[in-house]
Protein backbone atom coordinates (compact mmCIF):
# COMPACT_ATOMS: atom_id res chain seq x y z
CA UNK A 1 0.00 0.00 0.00
CA UNK A 2 1.50 3.33 -1.09
CA UNK A 3 1.31 6.50 0.98
CA UNK A 4 -0.28 9.69 -0.35
CA UNK A 5 3.16 11.33 -0.81
CA UNK A 6 4.36 8.36 -2.87
CA UNK A 7 1.26 8.47 -5.08
CA UNK A 8 1.68 12.22 -5.66
CA UNK A 9 5.25 11.67 -6.90
CA UNK A 10 4.17 9.13 -9.54
CA UNK A 11 3.76 10.17 -13.20
CA UNK A 12 0.51 9.74 -15.12
CA UNK A 13 1.92 6.75 -17.02
CA UNK A 14 2.96 5.04 -13.78
CA UNK A 15 -0.46 5.65 -12.29
CA UNK A 16 -2.15 4.19 -15.37
CA UNK A 17 0.12 1.13 -15.22
CA UNK A 18 -0.67 0.61 -11.54
CA UNK A 19 -4.39 0.93 -12.21
CA UNK A 20 -4.24 -1.73 -14.96
CA UNK A 21 -2.15 -4.13 -12.86
CA UNK A 22 -4.13 -3.73 -9.66
CA UNK A 23 -7.70 -3.68 -10.97
CA UNK A 24 -10.21 -3.80 -8.11
CA UNK A 25 -12.06 -7.12 -7.97
CA UNK A 26 -15.81 -6.99 -8.70
CA UNK A 27 -17.76 -8.24 -5.66
CA UNK A 28 -19.61 -11.49 -6.16
CA UNK A 29 -23.19 -11.10 -7.34
CA UNK A 30 -22.93 -7.33 -7.93
CA UNK A 31 -24.43 -7.54 -11.38
CA UNK A 32 -27.40 -9.55 -10.11
CA UNK A 33 -27.99 -7.14 -7.22
CA UNK A 34 -27.91 -4.15 -9.59
CA UNK A 35 -30.39 -5.86 -11.91
CA UNK A 36 -32.73 -6.58 -8.99
CA UNK A 37 -32.49 -2.99 -7.71
CA UNK A 38 -33.32 -1.55 -11.14
CA UNK A 39 -36.23 -3.98 -11.56
CA UNK A 40 -37.61 -3.01 -8.13
CA UNK A 41 -37.37 0.70 -9.04
CA UNK A 42 -39.22 0.12 -12.31
CA UNK A 43 -42.01 -1.68 -10.46
CA UNK A 44 -42.26 1.18 -7.92
CA UNK A 45 -42.37 3.79 -10.73
CA UNK A 46 -45.16 1.88 -12.48
CA UNK A 47 -47.20 1.64 -9.27
CA UNK A 48 -46.98 5.42 -8.55
CA UNK A 49 -50.14 7.28 -9.74
CA UNK A 50 -49.33 9.50 -12.71
CA UNK A 51 -51.10 12.86 -13.19
CA UNK A 52 -54.03 12.28 -15.50
CA UNK A 53 -53.52 13.62 -19.01
CA UNK A 54 -57.04 14.97 -19.14
CA UNK A 55 -56.49 17.53 -16.34
CA UNK A 56 -55.00 20.34 -18.56
CA UNK A 57 -57.77 19.82 -21.14
CA UNK A 58 -60.44 19.87 -18.42
CA UNK A 59 -59.02 23.09 -16.92
CA UNK A 60 -58.98 24.63 -20.40
CA UNK A 61 -62.61 23.67 -20.92
CA UNK A 62 -63.63 25.10 -17.52
CA UNK A 63 -61.79 28.36 -18.21
CA UNK A 64 -63.39 28.64 -21.66
CA UNK A 65 -66.83 27.98 -20.20
CA UNK A 66 -66.32 30.60 -17.46
CA UNK A 67 -65.14 33.17 -20.02
CA UNK A 68 -68.08 32.42 -22.30
CA UNK A 69 -70.67 32.72 -19.51
CA UNK A 70 -69.30 36.07 -18.36
CA UNK A 71 -68.57 37.39 -21.84
CA UNK A 72 -71.92 36.55 -23.38
CA UNK A 73 -73.92 39.70 -24.08
CA UNK A 74 -75.89 40.42 -20.95
CA UNK A 75 -79.20 42.16 -20.83
CA UNK A 76 -78.77 45.86 -20.23
CA UNK A 77 -80.71 47.80 -17.63
CA UNK A 78 -84.33 48.63 -18.31
CA UNK A 79 -85.35 52.17 -19.19
CA UNK A 80 -86.81 53.97 -16.18
CA UNK A 81 -89.23 55.97 -18.32
CA UNK A 82 -91.54 54.95 -21.14
CA UNK A 83 -92.45 58.50 -22.04
CA UNK A 84 -89.70 60.58 -23.69
CA UNK A 85 -91.12 63.77 -22.16
CA UNK A 86 -90.72 62.36 -18.66
CA UNK A 87 -87.21 61.23 -19.56
CA UNK A 88 -86.47 64.72 -20.89
CA UNK A 89 -87.75 66.25 -17.64
CA UNK A 90 -85.38 63.96 -15.71
CA UNK A 91 -82.44 64.95 -17.90
CA UNK A 92 -83.26 68.62 -17.31
CA UNK A 93 -83.42 67.94 -13.58
CA UNK A 94 -80.04 66.22 -13.67
CA UNK A 95 -78.43 69.14 -15.48
CA UNK A 96 -79.97 71.50 -12.94
CA UNK A 97 -78.56 69.41 -10.09
CA UNK A 98 -75.12 69.37 -11.73
CA UNK A 99 -75.32 73.14 -12.21
CA UNK A 100 -76.32 73.66 -8.57
CA UNK A 101 -73.40 71.56 -7.36
CA UNK A 102 -71.08 73.48 -9.68
CA UNK A 103 -72.54 76.69 -8.32
CA UNK A 104 -71.70 75.57 -4.77
CA UNK A 105 -68.09 75.11 -5.85
CA UNK A 106 -67.94 78.51 -7.52
CA UNK A 107 -69.49 80.15 -4.43
CA UNK A 108 -66.69 78.62 -2.33
CA UNK A 109 -64.11 80.02 -4.75
CA UNK A 110 -65.68 83.49 -4.54
CA UNK A 111 -65.69 83.33 -0.74
CA UNK A 112 -62.04 82.33 -0.77
CA UNK A 113 -61.26 85.22 -3.14
CA UNK A 114 -63.04 87.64 -0.81
CA UNK A 115 -61.03 86.32 2.17
CA UNK A 116 -57.82 86.62 0.20
CA UNK A 117 -58.58 90.28 -0.60
CA UNK A 118 -58.64 91.29 3.09
CA UNK A 119 -54.87 91.01 3.73
CA UNK A 120 -54.24 92.56 0.32
CA UNK A 121 -56.38 95.57 1.27
CA UNK A 122 -54.54 95.90 4.60
CA UNK A 123 -51.21 95.84 2.76
CA UNK A 124 -52.42 98.42 0.27
CA UNK A 125 -53.57 100.73 3.09
CA UNK A 126 -50.28 100.37 4.98
CA UNK A 127 -48.36 101.41 1.86
CA UNK A 128 -50.24 104.69 1.57
Amino acid sequence: MKTLEEIEQLSIEELEGLAVREAAPVPDGLQERLRQTLAAREIAEAARPRPARWIPYASLAVAAAAAAVIALPQRGPKDTFDDPRLAYAEVEKVFRTISDKMNDGVTLVREAEASAEIPQNILNKSKK
Partner: protein, 162 residues
Protein backbone atom coordinates in the same frame (compact mmCIF):
# COMPACT_ATOMS: atom_id res chain seq x y z
CA UNK B 1 -48.03 21.55 -25.43
CA UNK B 2 -49.04 21.42 -21.78
CA UNK B 3 -47.59 24.87 -21.20
CA UNK B 4 -49.57 26.27 -24.14
CA UNK B 5 -52.79 24.81 -22.79
CA UNK B 6 -52.14 26.25 -19.32
CA UNK B 7 -51.30 29.65 -20.85
CA UNK B 8 -54.55 29.64 -22.86
CA UNK B 9 -56.50 28.67 -19.72
CA UNK B 10 -54.97 31.54 -17.74
CA UNK B 11 -55.72 34.02 -20.55
CA UNK B 12 -59.30 32.77 -20.72
CA UNK B 13 -59.70 33.11 -16.96
CA UNK B 14 -58.54 36.73 -17.05
CA UNK B 15 -60.48 37.54 -20.23
CA UNK B 16 -63.69 38.59 -18.44
CA UNK B 17 -61.77 40.94 -16.17
CA UNK B 18 -60.00 42.50 -19.15
CA UNK B 19 -63.17 42.89 -21.20
CA UNK B 20 -65.45 43.91 -18.37
CA UNK B 21 -63.71 46.86 -16.86
CA UNK B 22 -65.95 48.97 -14.69
CA UNK B 23 -68.31 51.34 -16.42
CA UNK B 24 -71.26 53.50 -15.51
CA UNK B 25 -73.47 50.67 -16.71
CA UNK B 26 -71.81 47.98 -14.59
CA UNK B 27 -71.94 50.18 -11.48
CA UNK B 28 -75.60 50.95 -12.16
CA UNK B 29 -76.45 47.29 -12.64
CA UNK B 30 -74.68 46.35 -9.44
CA UNK B 31 -76.43 48.81 -7.16
CA UNK B 32 -79.72 49.78 -8.80
CA UNK B 33 -81.73 47.06 -7.03
CA UNK B 34 -80.21 47.56 -3.56
CA UNK B 35 -82.26 48.70 -0.57
CA UNK B 36 -82.58 52.47 -0.05
CA UNK B 37 -81.18 53.13 -3.50
CA UNK B 38 -83.16 54.98 -6.15
CA UNK B 39 -82.01 54.53 -9.72
CA UNK B 40 -82.71 56.15 -13.07
CA UNK B 41 -81.51 54.88 -16.42
CA UNK B 42 -82.15 56.46 -19.79
CA UNK B 43 -81.13 54.36 -22.76
CA UNK B 44 -79.73 55.46 -26.13
CA UNK B 45 -83.09 54.57 -27.72
CA UNK B 46 -84.91 56.85 -25.30
CA UNK B 47 -82.45 59.65 -26.03
CA UNK B 48 -83.24 59.24 -29.72
CA UNK B 49 -86.94 59.58 -28.89
CA UNK B 50 -86.26 62.65 -26.76
CA UNK B 51 -84.42 64.13 -29.71
CA UNK B 52 -87.62 63.92 -31.76
CA UNK B 53 -89.67 66.04 -29.33
CA UNK B 54 -90.52 69.08 -31.47
CA UNK B 55 -90.30 71.76 -28.75
CA UNK B 56 -87.06 70.47 -27.27
CA UNK B 57 -84.97 73.40 -28.38
CA UNK B 58 -85.21 75.59 -25.29
CA UNK B 59 -86.17 74.80 -21.72
CA UNK B 60 -87.94 77.12 -19.27
CA UNK B 61 -84.73 78.96 -18.40
CA UNK B 62 -83.98 79.58 -22.06
CA UNK B 63 -81.15 77.11 -22.29
CA UNK B 64 -80.73 75.09 -25.44
CA UNK B 65 -80.44 71.52 -24.24
CA UNK B 66 -80.98 69.96 -27.65
CA UNK B 67 -77.37 69.61 -28.90
CA UNK B 68 -76.28 67.99 -25.66
CA UNK B 69 -79.32 65.75 -25.23
CA UNK B 70 -79.12 64.53 -28.83
CA UNK B 71 -75.48 63.59 -28.29
CA UNK B 72 -76.13 61.52 -25.17
CA UNK B 73 -76.18 57.75 -25.41
CA UNK B 74 -76.80 56.80 -21.81
CA UNK B 75 -77.54 58.26 -18.43
CA UNK B 76 -77.12 56.38 -15.14
CA UNK B 77 -78.16 57.87 -11.82
CA UNK B 78 -77.94 56.25 -8.42
CA UNK B 79 -79.03 57.91 -5.22
CA UNK B 80 -78.21 55.91 -2.11
CA UNK B 81 -79.11 56.44 1.54
CA UNK B 82 -77.75 53.05 2.50
CA UNK B 83 -74.45 53.43 4.47
CA UNK B 84 -73.01 50.06 3.46
CA UNK B 85 -73.84 50.70 -0.21
CA UNK B 86 -72.35 54.20 0.04
CA UNK B 87 -68.99 52.82 1.17
CA UNK B 88 -68.92 50.21 -1.57
CA UNK B 89 -70.24 52.55 -4.27
CA UNK B 90 -67.67 55.24 -3.39
CA UNK B 91 -64.83 52.74 -3.75
CA UNK B 92 -66.22 51.40 -6.99
CA UNK B 93 -66.56 54.88 -8.50
CA UNK B 94 -62.98 55.70 -7.44
CA UNK B 95 -61.71 52.61 -9.24
CA UNK B 96 -63.85 53.44 -12.27
CA UNK B 97 -62.40 56.97 -12.38
CA UNK B 98 -58.82 55.81 -11.94
CA UNK B 99 -59.20 53.13 -14.59
CA UNK B 100 -60.95 55.36 -17.12
CA UNK B 101 -58.45 58.19 -17.61
CA UNK B 102 -60.93 60.71 -16.24
CA UNK B 103 -59.75 64.16 -15.31
CA UNK B 104 -61.11 66.09 -12.36
CA UNK B 105 -63.29 68.95 -13.52
CA UNK B 106 -64.20 70.23 -10.09
CA UNK B 107 -64.04 69.27 -6.43
CA UNK B 108 -65.88 71.15 -3.70
CA UNK B 109 -65.97 70.37 0.01
CA UNK B 110 -68.28 72.34 2.24
CA UNK B 111 -69.90 71.46 5.58
CA UNK B 112 -69.30 67.74 5.13
CA UNK B 113 -70.60 67.77 1.56
CA UNK B 114 -68.14 66.60 -1.06
CA UNK B 115 -68.80 66.99 -4.77
CA UNK B 116 -66.48 65.75 -7.47
CA UNK B 117 -67.01 66.04 -11.20
CA UNK B 118 -64.92 64.26 -13.79
CA UNK B 119 -64.84 64.20 -17.57
CA UNK B 120 -63.08 62.14 -20.17
CA UNK B 121 -62.69 63.15 -23.80
CA UNK B 122 -60.76 65.69 -25.81
CA UNK B 123 -60.83 69.44 -26.29
CA UNK B 124 -63.97 69.29 -28.45
CA UNK B 125 -65.94 66.33 -27.13
CA UNK B 126 -66.82 64.89 -23.75
CA UNK B 127 -67.23 61.11 -23.95
CA UNK B 128 -68.29 60.67 -20.38
CA UNK B 129 -69.19 62.88 -17.44
CA UNK B 130 -69.27 61.58 -13.87
CA UNK B 131 -70.45 63.34 -10.75
CA UNK B 132 -70.17 61.88 -7.27
CA UNK B 133 -71.77 63.87 -4.46
CA UNK B 134 -71.67 62.83 -0.81
CA UNK B 135 -73.77 64.73 1.67
CA UNK B 136 -74.00 63.13 5.11
CA UNK B 137 -75.51 59.72 4.64
CA UNK B 138 -76.58 60.37 1.05
CA UNK B 139 -74.53 59.58 -2.01
CA UNK B 140 -75.42 60.52 -5.58
CA UNK B 141 -73.69 59.07 -8.62
CA UNK B 142 -74.43 60.51 -12.05
CA UNK B 143 -72.84 59.18 -15.22
CA UNK B 144 -73.57 60.67 -18.65
CA UNK B 145 -72.22 58.95 -21.73
CA UNK B 146 -72.19 60.05 -25.35
CA UNK B 147 -70.37 62.36 -27.71
CA UNK B 148 -71.23 65.63 -26.00
CA UNK B 149 -69.92 68.85 -27.52
CA UNK B 150 -67.62 70.20 -24.79
CA UNK B 151 -68.45 73.87 -25.24
CA UNK B 152 -72.22 73.35 -25.15
CA UNK B 153 -72.06 70.97 -22.21
CA UNK B 154 -69.82 73.18 -20.12
CA UNK B 155 -71.99 76.20 -20.91
CA UNK B 156 -75.05 74.23 -19.86
CA UNK B 157 -73.48 73.10 -16.61
CA UNK B 158 -72.15 76.57 -15.80
CA UNK B 159 -75.36 78.45 -16.72
CA UNK B 160 -76.80 78.65 -13.20
CA UNK B 161 -73.47 79.91 -11.90
CA UNK B 162 -73.99 83.28 -13.55
Amino acid sequence: MKRTIILIAVILLFFPFICFAQSGKSIYQKYSDADNVSAVYISPAMFRLIGKIPDLEFNESGLNLAPVIRSLSGMYILNSENPSINASLGGEVDRFIQGGRYELLMEAKDDGEVVRMYTVGDSKTINSFVMLAVDGGEMTFVCLEGQMPRDETERLIAESVK
